[in-house]
């Protein structure tokens, strides 16, 4: 039973990490209608920049500087790339971000090579914070939780309590009206894009040492981020948070407990075929939850799209 607590913590870490990526993406999507395929690539850039900086100046400077660089890059991409493509409609925008994702992956391989980077947890955090019945919780995990929670609270504060946040929220639903009131909406778009990519950068900086820093890291995480914002509801920060945590916990628990399909089917009243090896459903019967853990979020997304197309916290159907 202690394992449940450990799994809750592990799932929380995975979920919060996912949140940092999806928070930026969901804001960008709802504001500009751009499905930014390159979002996970900015996450990768964050990790690589932080690795490079950490060699010279140490991990903490990396944590500070790398997201800034990524954010500036992101703002630049919006200002000089997306904004020009914008007038041609959504499809060119999609293709633009898709191309950008491929370009960034190639660039990263060109500069750093295809190998795993030895980007490691800083020594000061490289110890076991505490152990729950033999399962060690590394201090770095606690650190990750703190950083992501701090970012969430910060974001929530800016979006709901400050003037800038109110203008952003207004621009989310009525960009024309906000513009007519004299606000510089393109600047807001650029700012949101920059902050969104910077958040992805932060995620990269703190995830790089644990999940590995390699050219495929954007690809591995890319699709799940989209699933998260669809489940959470486009444009909803709370939705992104809930969906991220949900996915984090679902996958963690599915991997931790060997739930066998045979038991589920038997529980539903279907009896196991006599000769399993000859049954055409053999693969279905022998499935275990760890095998399909990483597919479960996609199943959840399909269900959400069927029964609640706007997502868990979405206000509009897109």
């Amino acid at each position: 039973m202690d394992l449940i607590l450990v799994n809750l913590i592990d799932g929380l870490v995975t979920g919060l990490l996912l949140f940092m990526l999806s928070a930026g993406l969901t804001l960008i999507f709802s504001m500009m209608g751009v499905l930014n395929f390159a979002h996970a690539s900015f996450y990768m850039l964050g990790a690589y920049f932080a690795y490079q900086i950490s060699i010279a100046l140490g991990f903490w400077m990396g944590l500070l500087i790398a997201p800034l660089i990524v954010g500036v890059l992101g703002a630049g991409v919006e200002r000089y790339g997306l904004r020009r493509v914008h007038k041609y409609g959504h499809v060119p925008e999609l293709i633009f971000t898709f191309g950008l994702a491929l370009l960034i992956e190639e660039l990263v391989q060109f500069i750093w090579g295809k190998n795993q980077m030895p980007y490691n947890v800083p020594d000061i955090l490289n110890f076991t914070a505490f152990a729950i019945s033999g399962a060690a919780i590394p201090a770095y995990k606690i650190f990750m939780i703190f950083v992501s929670v701090a970012i969430f609270i910060g974001l929530l504060f800016v979006l709901t309590k400050t003037r800038v946040g109110m203008i952003i929220q207004a621009a989310l639903s009525y960009p024309r009206t906000v513009e007519a009131l004299g606000h510089n909406v393109p600047l807001i778009f650029m700012g949101v894009f920059g902050v969104g990519t910077a958040l992805a950068g932060v995620a990269g900086v703190i995830a790089g040492p644990v999940l590995g820093t390699f050219p495929g890291m954007a690809f591995v995480l890319g699709s799940i981020v989209f699933v998260t914002i669809v489940i959470g509801g486009l444009g909803s920060l709370w939705g992104a948070l809930v969906a991220s945590l949900l996915i984090g916990w679902i996958t963690t628990f599915a991997k931790s407990y060997n739930i066998e399909m045979e038991n589920i089917l038997n529980g539903l009243g279907i009896s196991t075929p006599e000769n399993l090896d000859e049954s055409i459903f053999r693969d279905l019967w022998s499935l275990t939850s760890p095998q399909i853990a990483d597919i479960l979020p996609y199943i959840l997304m399909v269900l959400i799209l069927i029964f609640r197309p706007a997502g868990l916290f979405g206000k509009r159907s897109t």
């Binding site: 090579g113 030895p118 999940l211 495929g216 591995v220």
Partner: protein, 414 residues
Amino acid sequence: MKKTTKLGAVSALSLVIGASAAFAENIKIGFIDPLSGPFASTGANGLHQLEFAADYMVNQNGGVLDGDMFEVIGFDNKTSPKESLIQLQVAIDQGIRYIVQGNGSAVALALTEAIDKHNRRNPDSRVLFLNYAAVDPALTNEKCNFWHFRFDANADMKMDAMTDVIAEDDSIKKVYVIGQDYSFGKAVADAAVSMLDEKRSDIEVVGNELHPIGKVKDFTPYSRKIVASGADAVITGNWGADMLGLGKSIIENGFDGPIYTYYGAGSGMTAAFGETGKGVIRLVSEGIVNPPPTEEASAYYDAFSAKYPEGNVDQTRISNTVGMLAEAIKKAGTADDVVAVAKALEGMEYQTIWGSKVMMRPEDHQAIQNINILNHTDEDVTYTFDSSTFGVVNEATVEMASADIATTCEMKRP
């Protein structure tokens, strides 16, 4: 008898002269492996080692036959069997007769079947399949064919050596087996369970698990189970990002026993494991670079390091593949007739630059060689990996391992 020899010699001579006058062509070798995606580093390092071996062992020594040079061409298959078949067709259309592949038994199984089919239908453009790392036993058993040669030990042979070492270690009472969910991962798991039971029935397999290949972002839940199971040792066939992710996660979450791996070194992994992996990561491998086995091997490694300062010679079998292919082409006297080259490869005994011998078993085209258990450490390492201070040092050797391992291969020869 004498007459035919003479005739043969004369015709061979005229052939040679004709060849040198007209062609001195490149012998093209197609390398089909992932050069992008999650396993790009593994594939790219393999390509570098193949290019270097071709250059250093063949081209710098004047090539084979009459100055024919080896030319290596890389094809990116993104680790997908489907993509590999497309790339295979592209390669064949470019006139390539030698296909080298290693990463992923699913890919190798698709390729060997496609090549068998192609060779039956197109006797004029037959190709050989030189497999340097795909270790699913099926490739030299029920799925074997005349065109496929495996230069690596297969999963069962490696497991045999690995379990020999585990069986001698009395401190190991519980073993956890985990791997990628595809043919190779399953083969490793099956072999581990049956061989451990055979050699040390008192060892309990406390976990036997498969995870999706190349899709797991965070291995923490798996490592939790491993630690909670109280295992003394872990066996995994993981490779690429899956190997590093799993290994790092297991160690981070408090496991300190040995992790026996098939592919837990090189490609950036050794540097990334660094201090945390010291004394934990074990590697089963055919090649030894530490301590340096021969002067020839040291010269080879030094030359490689000069060309690729960031690279490692972590797959010595690639140089064996090139060396044996060159020998076979010399013996067959032709590079165009792949049947003759294949026949020359069959049963070949080859003295490697790594100081050991490789024998290509004729009945299933499985290479028989020494298998070693190497240890990840930073002590007494002459040739480190990944420009780090860490490398793998030999710990135990099984001579000509599993030379008499049974095979179900029924090979149809042309």
